[in-house]
Symmetry: C2
């Protein structure tokens, strides 16, 4: 069977050759994760992904979720996969073994999850939600709370969700109205309605632990008055046994464009006045807790995008090699027989587009996780803050830019299949539908752009961004030294100088009386930053490839490394000139989008 | 009720102010179509679209089509709409009254259809298919055939389809294997299997007339041996009465990403050896007939894209005015209440993107139809050939570029709704799904790009393209004379000079030994041509707006005309610099996509 989720060689390339992950195994904490162990874990994950998860992807899309007598049923085929997930202990890969985690480097867990997301993103929603809910408790819970919940959540015995959004509080979380009133016993009575709650209910587990954002009676308005609560579906007694069902129920399921295997619930809390929760962390500090979790959550969403794009690419590549249609283009080949469509220039262009983006996105996301690992291991404050800086800057790219491009790659994946791509006979159309949500949730991509321009750009008075630029320039310098990459390094050099100019321009504008105009260009700014980051990752890869080729490699590796140089060549020569055009747009400070009046939009 | 399909003011602007359609009413043939009549027809169409068609859009998506006992059932709600269509005589608007057509200018019929496509594109598939099938008979049929079929098809008493694609003959039509054997009575026995046949069967009509592409026994291989046949679902006797059912049946329906209201059929012809058809036109000239129909069919697909984009825009605009979420961005407004999201810069950017593309696409498509009308009325060979040149060049833009951008606009439409956009509660996600097919069928957009570069660019040794460039330059000259448009005209001037250089470069390369590299850039070339064409249309609009404003207008018109200038400003300043970046890419002749070997793509 062709490998249709992710290119194993490429995953190993990033882990071992680009990031040199086994460097981490020099630290006691990660000493068991040498190269051999890493590859064994990858193989296990790959097997599970290919043999058990991928076959349920389409089935679950067709079956969807049902709400029956107040209980949510997920697709039947998910139950077996969930059991295997629990048995294989795949839920809490990089978490503290003290609480039931596997203690892996986060980078490795990301690599594993890129297989899982590519194989079955809707299923994975249940996994990341229980993981995220538990992580919140690990960060902010009392020892008693950790003892009560963590192991059962990290092992998957209990599920988790995250109750944040309300119908009038979406992007504007501070507008939420769910209310918490303190009871005499220290618990809180909670009343409110939440929407768009992924895995808000499910029949995969005997219990579900819901972190809930609510406002304690009398607390300030806005984000400053939001607290976080643990609200179990079934009450958990102090000895860990299950008590009475809590007054929190799923009142409806969204019908969605995709992600049908994952229930998106409307939740009613306290409709009988009996919903009980306990405070998690400090009063009114709920939003701060959210912010701490945000980087991981957004990185995860980027990984969902990459998963869809990678599977779409692998399928398209396989199809293009097998599908025979049309004669070769050259006139000299007029009487030649029809050829596999991979030989047609426009199909090759689409495939190389998919390849280069998939590779660049993979490197970026793994790199961010690698930074997290370095912070985790480091005792040096400067080093920690350097890596934290990279992360802070790259998160909006990882979430916003990556999911935008992932959706586009899935669209290419449909296109390469032609009419077949539009049918449900193949996965491509589902990947396109599923991936769409990644641009929307966990902060719309417009909000990611605002985050980059409004907050991240100004971190450390701009010094953090300068640090990232310097790091990129190191790779350019290395490329300059390789004759075959010299032209690419020049092109990249030109682009990064223009990016610096663009940063200066839009950064100043965003703090001037033209701030609105600056923010009308925020999206473009995220775009061009992302383009440069992709090019950085691909040039970095090409540097390694050139060095390996110089030292002599086996045939199969030669193909792979040559392919790395082609990806960089294609991206730098075909995307960066367009990116510089986008920088010109930002530099022009055009204000049409701000100046146009509401009435001039028409539509009456 | 808010107007949620298309901006009436904008449609009238294009018809009356930009194209000055009532100029055509000076000709006897169109004398009844003065401005007042045109507006009356538009109002009728708008009413039908809003009151009857739009309400069935979502219902039909959910209900879909069924194959029951060999018969296809379309969504129940389509029957009433179809009846109204027949009563209103909306099927054959611009066709010859001699055969039951309404004899309208094609431009007007396009404007009407842009309402209909925006209201219910899946329903419209049945309409355009019977119209296209009848048009083929009108062009190539004998008088007896015309008498037998046309009036019943143009009136909608009978349906139509088009049997072209086979599983191994998609983009490569010449590979088809359906066979025709001549019988003693002059009819042909036809045997074969077709797939992806829109409206291949339906319960809307008592009979369906199928044009079928097949190869007569002994005919040459490839496209040179393809003939066209009329194969009725139920045989039509010489006196027009219905005879026996023919041996052509629907054997399956595709499950698709969207367009659920339109049945996509697998068709078996002659599985009992009893399928009978009559030759339409000459033997072995079937592909030529297809080519003649192609421009109209591709223009129609562009209009489908525009329909989806326009409805998505109108909905998004309406939503953005009503949805209150988040405070104003400016720090000075920190304590201000939450505002409708149309006030947020990034939302305005998306809305203005949608507005300017929708307007540009509308002008382009109507303009092409207007060229058809001018050809139709003209007796001057030079004039005819000038308009035909515009059409030939602009058709790949109208089909390829417009549907690409339409899909993107629908994606913006989803994004503006946030999480709600992903749910089936609103139309946005359906419009995105439905619009996807327009990039694929009627020649994938990759094929449109090849058509532009491989054939159209070289028409008249490049003189045809030069003619179009000259026409665009006229608009730039006019803009130069308007002070407020001077900067935009400069920007446009710079871009068109670069386009000329790009044309020279890629045109020469496409006929050199680097042809494969040229074709790897064909898609970008279609993109930049499309960008310039959009900018031309928008600058043309802005010229008119400036003139109207100079002469003084009412408040509402002032808003509209100012909006026209903003669209041009936004597009020219925000899209054209990016477009010039794409031209740089073409000019660089990067060959990564050609040089990369199949093995270097990886995926093993």
């Amino acid at each position: 069977m062709a490998q249709l989720i992710a290119d194993r060689r490429d995953i190993e390339f990033v882990l071992h050759e680009q990031l040199q992950l086994d460097y981490l195994s020099k630290y006691e904490e990660f000493e068991e994760f040498d190269k051999k162990t890493i590859n064994l874990i990858l193989s296990e994950a790959r097997n599970l992904a290919i043999k058990e998860m991928l076959p349920t992807l389409k089935v679950s899309d067709e079956e969807g979720c049902r709400l029956e007598k107040g209980e949510v049923k997920v697709p039947e085929c998910f139950h077996k996969v969930y059991k295997l997930f629990r048995e294989g202990e795949w839920i809490a890969m990089y978490d503290d073994p003290e609480w039931g985690g596997q203690g892996m480097p986060m980078t490795l867990s990301l690599a594993v999850n890129s297989y899982f997301y590519g194989a079955n993103f809707p299923f994975m929603m249940a996994i990341i939600l229980v993981h995220g809910a538990a992580k919140l408790i690990e960060h902010y819970g009392t020892d008693a709370q950790k003892n009560l919940f963590l192991e059962k959540m990290y092992s998957g015995q209990w599920g988790g969700s995250m109750l944040l959004t309300e119908s009038e509080a979406g992007s504007d979380v501070g507008a939420l109205t769910t209310k918490a009133v303190k009871n005499d016993d220290g618990t809180y009575s909670i009343t409110g309605n939440k929407i768009f709650i992924s895995s808000g209910d499910s029949d995969l587990t005997e219990n579900i632990i819901h972190p809930v954002l609510a406002r304690i009676e009398g607390a300030p308005e806005g984000t400053a008055g939001i607290s976080l609560f643990i609200v179990p579906k079934i009450w958990v007694n102090e000895d860990g046994t299950l008590g009475e069902p809590n007054d929190i129920v799923c009142t409806g399921l969204e019908e969605k464009m995709g992600l049908h295997g994952s229930p998106t619930c409307s939740m009613a809390l306290g409709s009988k006045g009996m919903c009980k929760g306990v405070l998690l962390g400090q009063e009114n500090k709920g939003m701060r807790a959210m912010f701490v979790m945000m980087n991981e959550a957004r990185l995860d969403v980027g990984l969902q995008g990459l998963g869809c794009a990678s599977t779409s690419f692998m399928n398209a590549l396989n199809y293009a090699k097998e599908r025979v249609q049309g004669k070769p283009l050259l006139a000299s080949a007029k009487d030649a027989p029809a050829v596999p469509i991979i030989q047609h220039p426009d199909v090759k262009r689409m495939l190389l587009t998919m390849k280069s983006y998939t590779e660049g996105m993979r490197s970026l996301l793994y790199f961010i996780a690698f930074c997290e690992d370095r912070i985790h291991l480091s005792n040096d404050a400067d080093e920690k803050s350097m890596y934290q800086g990279y992360i802070d800057l790259l998160i909006p790219v990882a979430k916003g830019y990556v999911t935008d491009r992932a959706f586009e790659m899935c669209a290419h994946g449909v296109q390469i299949y032609g009419g077949y791509g539009y049918t449900k006979e193949y996965l491509q159309e589902q990947l396109l539908r599923d991936s769409k949500i990644t641009q929307i949730y966990e902060g719309t991509n417009g909000i990611q752009a605002m985050d980059l321009l409004g907050r991240k750009l100004h971190l450390g008075k701009g010094e953090v961004f300068k640090g990232l630029i310097s790091k990129i320039k190191e790779i350019i310098e290395t490329a300059k030294a390789h004759k075959v990459l010299n032209d690419l390094s020049q092109e990249m050099q030109k682009t990064i100088l223009k990016l610096e100019k663009t940063i200066g321009h839009i950064g100043a504008m965003s703090r001037s009386d033209k701030a609105l105009t600056a923010f009308a260009h925020a999206y473009s700014f995220l775009d061009v930053t992302g383009d440069v980051v992709m090019a950085w990752m691909l040039l970095w890869r090409a540097n390694i490839a050139v060095e390996k080729l110089e030292n002599g490699t086996k045939r199969k590796d030669t193909d792979f490394y040559t392919g790395q140089i082609r990806s960089a060549q294609f991206f730098i020569n075909s995307v960066l000139p367009v990116s510089r055009g986008k920088m010109d747009v930002i530099l022009s400070s055009d204000d049409a989008a701000i100046q146009i009046s509401e009435n001039s939009f028409g539509g009456l």
